[in-house]
């Protein structure tokens, strides 16, 4: 009888080329963007090597591109040179690229799934830590560095020390007005920013099973914020329905073969995880981050904590520094914090369901006159879908700026920089110091919470609005 295996173990086993420690694994899908690839291509070119499988490699531009005025070209000369380098490298090596003028352009982690390239059981890598997003389909997907990007380009394989397995069991039902973003922020608050280090997390339980694919992507996306190597969710009917008919999904007889292969991608009943965490979804409330890492969050009904509430001296010092950077005083109710900016977008929350959730809150309301609010769809396909539903009219009527797709203010590598000292309610994934611009103060929230903050000019408990 076979040893019971976890989903992670099964996908790992299917990709072993050399069974050693570390293990040489075969890569099914290599996603490439402009920021972490130029030095890899340069290394490849210098050593006279070629891309082994351009047909398993795909590129798009997302990090450094402007979200307005694209017809005018890219004005930042460094960003332009970086993007031009990717265009040239893809042309030279025969790699499919969704460039700036392609209707499929977008954030690499939004594009892969929506094009049907991300599928269950695949091993997916990208020079970007939020590659964990693709684990929502039951793929093993993780971020790699530039040297590894070059290695994958040349060999289509990657050496990996085998991570341990961790189960995050989420039972119960998410209450009304509580989003997938609140769930993952709640998980990170519980396990900490390094609770998943050297582990691959499998999210399990009824609350996970009930999520849509978009919501599952929000969860897996932020696995890295808990330190995990990857996050996974077993494929099911929801997954299969999402993939069917997408441009790069299998067709005809190959679809049937694929679906039957995907059905085995579940953790066996007696499989054992190295580590387990439990969470009751029904007790969750909307979360708002107050500090400078994604575990420094509190319920919207709470207040800014005191550093003295931490026993660990390192955590206490970190809280002191965070409060200083964020210009917040312990005991301040979250509902009293005013915001200057609202950013709706990113690979965490830039998908169609995120935009729908925000539009529902915004409809018939106006953005506060002191707030600058933008919507940056995760991809040009998301943008087109939203426009076909009239969501852009809802946002624009309320006073939001409606943009083209990209990473934008999530990491401020493009012109969408939040000014120093200003406060942003953001649907992105990282509230690190300087992340949205030097001195910018980020508060991580769900799309509905961000939309409500834009209208009120401060944080509000969106559950009160949604019930009204």
């Amino acid at each position: 009888m076979n040893t019971p295996r976890t989903l992670f173990q099964k996908v790992w086993d299917n990709h072993i080329v050399i069974d050693a420690d570390p293990t040489l694994l075969y890569v099914d899908l290599h996603l490439v963007h402009e920021v972490t690839s130029p030095q890899a291509f340069a290394g490849l070119n210098q050593s006279g090597r070629t891309v082994r499988r351009p047909d398993l490699t795909v590129a798009t531009v997302d990090h450094g591109i402007p979200t307005t005025g694209r017809s005018l070209g890219i004005r930042d000369p460094l960003s332009k040179r970086q993007i031009d380098a990717l265009v040239q490298n893809c042309r030279d090596h025969g790699i499919t690229m969704f460039g700036l003028d392609d209707p499929r352009q977008g954030i690499v982690h939004v594009v892969g799934p929506e094009q049907g390239l991300t599928q269950p059981g695949l091993l997916v890598v990208c020079g970007d830590s939020h590659t964990s997003t693709h684990g929502a389909f039951g793929a093993l997907a993780f971020g790699i560095g530039t040297t590894e990007v070059e290695h994958v380009l040349a060999t289509q394989t990657i050496w990996q020390a085998k991570p341990q397995s961790m189960a995050v069991e989420v039972e119960g039902e998410l209450p009304w007005g509580v989003a997938a973003k609140d769930l993952i922020l709640g998980i990170i608050a519980q396990i900490g920013v390094s609770g998943g280090t050297r582990h691959v997390i499998e999210y399990r339980g009824k609350a996970i099973h009930d999520l849509s694919m978009e919501q599952r992507m929000t969860i897996c996306n932020m696995s890295i914020e808990g330190g995990a190597r990857a996050g996974m969710i077993a494929p099911d009917e929801t997954t299969i329905r999402y993939i069917e008919g997408r441009p790069f999904a299998p067709k005809g007889a190959r679809w049937d073969e694929a679906v039957s292969a995907w059905e085995s991608l579940v953790t066996d009943p007696d499989a054992v995880f190295d580590k387990v965490a439990f969470l009751d979804a029904s007790r969750l409330v909307p979360h708002v981050s107050w500090g400078v890492n994604p575990a420094q969050t509190v319920p919207v009904t709470g207040s800014v904590p005191s550093p003295d509430s931490y026993d660990d001296p390192l955590q206490r010092d970190a809280a002191v520094r965070a409060l200083e950077y964020m210009a917040l005083r312990p005991g301040t109710p979250i509902l009293d914090i005013a915001v200057d900016h609202v950013f709706l977008g990113s690979c965490t929350n830039g998908r169609i369901e995120d935009l729908r959730a925000a539009a529902k809150v915004v409809e018939g309301r106006k953005v506060d006159s002191r707030v600058s609010a933008v919507v940056v769809p995760g991809s040009m396909q998301v943008k087109a879908q939203a426009e076909s539903e009239g969501l852009h009219e809802v946002f624009e009527a309320a006073g939001f700026s409606w943009r083209d797709a990209g990473c934008s203010s999530c990491l401020a590598m493009n012109p969408d920089v939040i000014p120093a000292g200003e406060r942003c309610a953001s649907t992105s994934n990282r509230n690190y110091e300087g992340r949205q611009g030097r001195g910018a103060r980020t508060h991580l929230v769900s799309p509905a919470m961000a939309a409500a903050a834009a209208v009120a000019g401060r944080f509000v408990d969106v559950r009160e609005w949604e019930n009204s």
């Binding site: 420690d21 460094l78 380098a85 209707p103 560095g145 020390a161 991570p163 690190y432």
Partner: protein, 210 residues
């Protein structure tokens, strides 16, 4: 398969203490310096936002700017070092500033991997040993020795063994080009490739929607 990076064997040098936990790679090298397409020239941007005031002048109170620390070779720091973004620019910047090693209670997974490829030695020691080293490092002339072969750290009465992945160790000791090593296993890669299922996706372009 030639030599790619400078081999790492024994490192002896002074320490620079950075007593903070959860230092993310956005702090190590902020996003505005990731637009360059070169692999070098990142040293001057190390911990840029902490090391500079709003107008871009060096902050005299940040330890990296202390002239007595300029020759430091080993960064000693808090746990979960290098968390967040996968940017390899982080180990590049640390190395190009002049560090040859980082000592921490724990490093983030991607940072640890990236460092092993670029020849930056990341040593994980128990927190109490890190705390002792940080105390010793208040003296800018205090030295530490890291010997990769024997996997030991020694400094003024402290002697600690550390765990290290044997393959990463071999790569650091020899400085061998990892791609060349992998390509020597081409037969194994090719046979895995031939066994792959026909339904697996390819990225061969199909017409975009009109």
């Amino acid at each position: 398969m030639g030599e790619l990076v400078k081999p790492v064997t024994t490192i002896t040098g002074t320490m620079l203490p950075l007593d903070r936990g959860d230092v993310d790679t956005d702090q190590i090298i902020p996003q505005q310096f990731l637009k360059r397409i070169e692999r070098d020239g990142y040293g001057e941007f190390l911990f840029y936002n902490w090391a500079h005031t709003d107008d871009g002048t060096p902050s005299s109170d940040f330890i990296l700017n202390d002239p007595t620390r300029r020759g430091a070779r080993v960064l000693v720091t808090g746990p979960n070092f290098g968390c967040g973004s996968s940017r390899e620019h982080a180990p590049w910047a640390i190395q190009q500033w002049g560090f040859e090693a980082v000592i921490t209670a724990s490093a983030a997974d991607i940072f640890r991997n990236n460092s092993s490829y670029v020849g930056l030695l990341v040593v994980e020691l128990p927190q109490d040993a890190v705390t002792r080293l940080i105390e010793m490092a208040s003296d800018p002339t205090a030295e530490v020795t890291i010997d990769l072969e024997s996997q030991t750290v020694t400094a003024n009465g402290l002697e600690e063994h550390f765990d290290f992945n044997p393959t990463a160790k071999e790569r650091l000791l020899t400085g061998l080009d990892g791609i060349g090593v992998t390509m020597s296993h081409d037969d194994l890669i090719a046979s895995h490739e031939q066994a792959r299922a026909a339904w697996l996706p390819t990225t061969v372009d199909i017409a975009p929607p009109t």
